[in-house]
Symmetry: C2
Amino acid sequence: MPATIRDVARASGVHISTVSRTFSAPHLVNPETRSRVLATAESLGYRPNRAARALITGRTHNVGLIVADIANPFFPPLIKAAESQARQRDYHIFVADTNEDATAEEELVLAMAKQVDGVLLCSPRMSNSLIEQCSREVPLVVINRLVTGLPSVVMDVGQGARDAIEHLAGLGHREIALLGGPRGSWTSREIRRSALLAARAAGADLTVLGPNPPTEDGGAAAADQVRRVGCTAVLAYNDLMAIGLLDELDSLGVRVPEEISVVGIDDIAPSRRTRPKLTTVATPTAAAGRAAVDMLLQHDNAPVARTARPGVGVGAVDGRRTTAQVTLQTELVIRDSTGPGPHLPADPGYAATAAPGPVASYVKE
Amino acid sequence: MPATIRDVARASGVHISTVSRTFSAPHLVNPETRSRVLATAESLGYRPNRAARALITGRTHNVGLIVADIANPFFPPLIKAAESQARQRDYHIFVADTNEDATAEEELVLAMAKQVDGVLLCSPRMSNSLIEQCSREVPLVVINRLVTGLPSVVMDVGQGARDAIEHLAGLGHREIALLGGPRGSWTSREIRRSALLAARAAGADLTVLGPNPPTEDGGAAAADQVRRVGCTAVLAYNDLMAIGLLDELDSLGVRVPEEISVVGIDDIAPSRRTRPKLTTVATPTAAAGRAAVDMLLQHDNAPVARTARPGVGVGAVDGRRTTAQVTLQTELVIRDSTGPGPHLPADPGYAATAAPGPVASYVKE
DNA sequence: CCAGGGGCTGCAAAGGTTTGCAGGAGAAGT
DNA sequence: ACTTCTCCTGCAAACCTTTGCAGCCCCTGG
């Protein structure tokens, strides 16, 4: 029923190979012939059958994108950016959701393997060795995890955590709690590592709580623990948890930031609207989505705009593909959920909710 | 490089057709042979090439899902539900985002047409006639719009709007504003129609504002207008706008619900966490996603669990496919953003933030 | 002992496209 | 006028799988 290349060939009096070339290698066909073919194709409503094309070229023009939880506001901007970047190159994106489950992850990669030219594996929960194994089945770009030998794009959450801790220490906090993320999260380990270092350097105590589910409920559930450890400031694995914590603290009658300061990570949209507005580490999620698509498609496609983001990108060459590791910068955004702590160095001019001088260079809005 | 059906056939000493049948019609092959084939297939890491399969069967086992804006928290639960429902039937989902743009919509449908077995068109902004045209290219299920002759699933926003208006009127509001949604939205028209009727019946004035972009900014931008029309209550096209409005009213020093009551529609996750908590009309988005997938796959697939949702589903038969129209029920959720208005009937026992008696049966939480 | 049938397997065509190779026409160079 | 070259087009194989048809073997019933 649908028009095939053969119908177009017949209707325009040329061989099917000419029609094929009209679409896939236009420069090889006489402009006159080309426009004639295009006209009849248009009139017949012809659209190339991608399955047939994929069969012979081995390239599906599809990309898989696997995320932990679509409903987590962290991901949609990334998905959106990846999708639009891919579409621009005539690729389509399969989206799948693992529900934070490591085994679902592997199954999904394998299920997609034969159907896509590559997979964007975002915030994986499975082990590195499993990821490597998957990467033998299908080209992989890992987002939010550094795995050696594999192209990956990560946010510099280490720097972000450091900034956050320094911000808190600078405000006079000495007892800080870290709300860890889910088990298996590279980001969570990275934050932890970096936060511990920064806390030590600043002469503050850091109590690590977790692992926790990276959701509002996870954050809310940790509120009790946070109070018990007697800290005056909290850094959460992500904004979602921070928001849940904020909410629960409010219900418990704990004032933020007067009694406890809270910092999140991600700067998702809702964080601008909490009361108090959430201080957080902004991660460039859209840029990450675009970069990942670029890295994946770079190898197969001739015309690729080199992603020469400033200050980013460490290249290494392995067997036959360039495995770049891209690190995107993060930025501390100071809002209203952080305030002076008990050890604030004497400085009479401070207003409780104003951002302190020393870290003002991080302020974004 | 990757193992094909031929490799498996050779390695297990059978014809390729036997291997094929092992996977696509297991009951036709001797159990003994079958397990042998499965074993060698496993050991070779064989996975059927879906492109080749699609080429001959004409079924891709893929479904397209087109939404207006992935970053709008309304959609992720729907996407998530659709994806998991589809996966359960061994289908994969292409997700695409139109950025609220009607022409992008059509392009996307057409681009996907040859690559999927059907498209879920969610909250379309294009005209009915264009949709019908698209439906000639590829099986379509429309979500959030009723278009005759096409299978569709909608939420009963009419009822929802009615409930909301009655709730407000019951609280003593006589001057109500409706924040309209984007141009081209069926839902927006439906809400408007229904709200006007309900307002008239309740003896209240309804001022329609809009169209507006269905975002937080859209809601915030309308705050000024809302104040100028002198209403004491607002029904917004969706929660996102309601949240934006809430936020802006707060900045302007307008107290909610004391001065103005606000009702949203959708009950997205963040609505539970605004201050005050948002009164809203809950729409069953996940159920809609599942139902839409079911309707789409129903026609092609033998084993289909009949979605016999109670109180739902009007069937009609056209040429060769059943074009059902499913309407899912909505539910008013009363929280803290609505309170008594100036014409509240004498009833001394009222507390300002408590839900009034007459509509208590709608309360969900 | 034969006919019939059921269970399983092999054969080969078909599906729509891409692409290396070859050939033809005309232009340009010698 | 002949070669060489460029530009364009046609030919046919190949990609991997599904599926209708036919054939085989073996069993059962008569």
